[in-house]
Symmetry: C2
Subunit: 118 residues, 2 copies
């Protein structure tokens, strides 16, 4: 995280909006804003997670795209009705994933829009 964040902050000049240490999950998140979007850096140390396996198999790289939505449950339901393959049929911890096979090879996460931004 420290090394990658240095690049995004000092060289690209993006501002680090938030650094979130998720205790117990051995995860650190860093958010850099670009217009209305964010580049989210994820540092994983636990071995069992999907993201740790991705790192072990492929090395650091782009993992997924996240879209903010008002109501994850409703969105997942409507995507399923329209025939999309989902990883999560209901949301877990305010996120839900669409299977990359549905999205041209791209893993898409939905996350709850923070209340203050609705």
């Amino acid at each position: 995280m420290e090394e990658a964040a240095r690049f995004y902050e000092k060289i690209l000049g993006l501002s680090l909006e938030e650094l979130e240490v998720m205790e117990g999950m051995d995860t650190t998140l860093g958010f850099f804003s670009v217009g209305e979007s964010n580049i989210e850096l994820v540092e994983r140390t636990k071995e069992e997670t999907g993201q740790a396996k991705f790192l072990a198999n492929w090395g650091p790289g782009i993992h997924h795209i996240c879209l903010e939505v008002d109501d994850i449950g409703a969105e997942l339901k409507s995507y399923k009705e329209r025939g999309a393959r989902l990883i999560d049929e209901t949301s877990r911890m305010k996120v839900g994933f669409i299977h990359p096979q549905a999205a041209g090879g791209i893993l898409i996460e939905l996350c709850a829009l923070p209340k203050e931004d609705r």
Copy 2:
């Protein structure tokens, strides 16, 4: 392109802003707007390009992140001065790439901001 675009348009409900057929380059680009950003789908048929090799080696997936800038030449110069490894030291066709080794494994493209948006 057609199959992937169907997902982004019909299932996710994103609007296709622009479909650009680049004659002679055997490339089709589809832009879907998400806030101030775009998801850009790239269809490649020529075998010699970096993106065609990426497709052949890894299959469809996320290829790079593109950041719009006012002056690519000046940005590339300042990144180099600050120690970033570049693929392009000067811009080519209004784009320039930063080496993934500089950016935590992520291939970053700079592209010229369209004049009307400056």
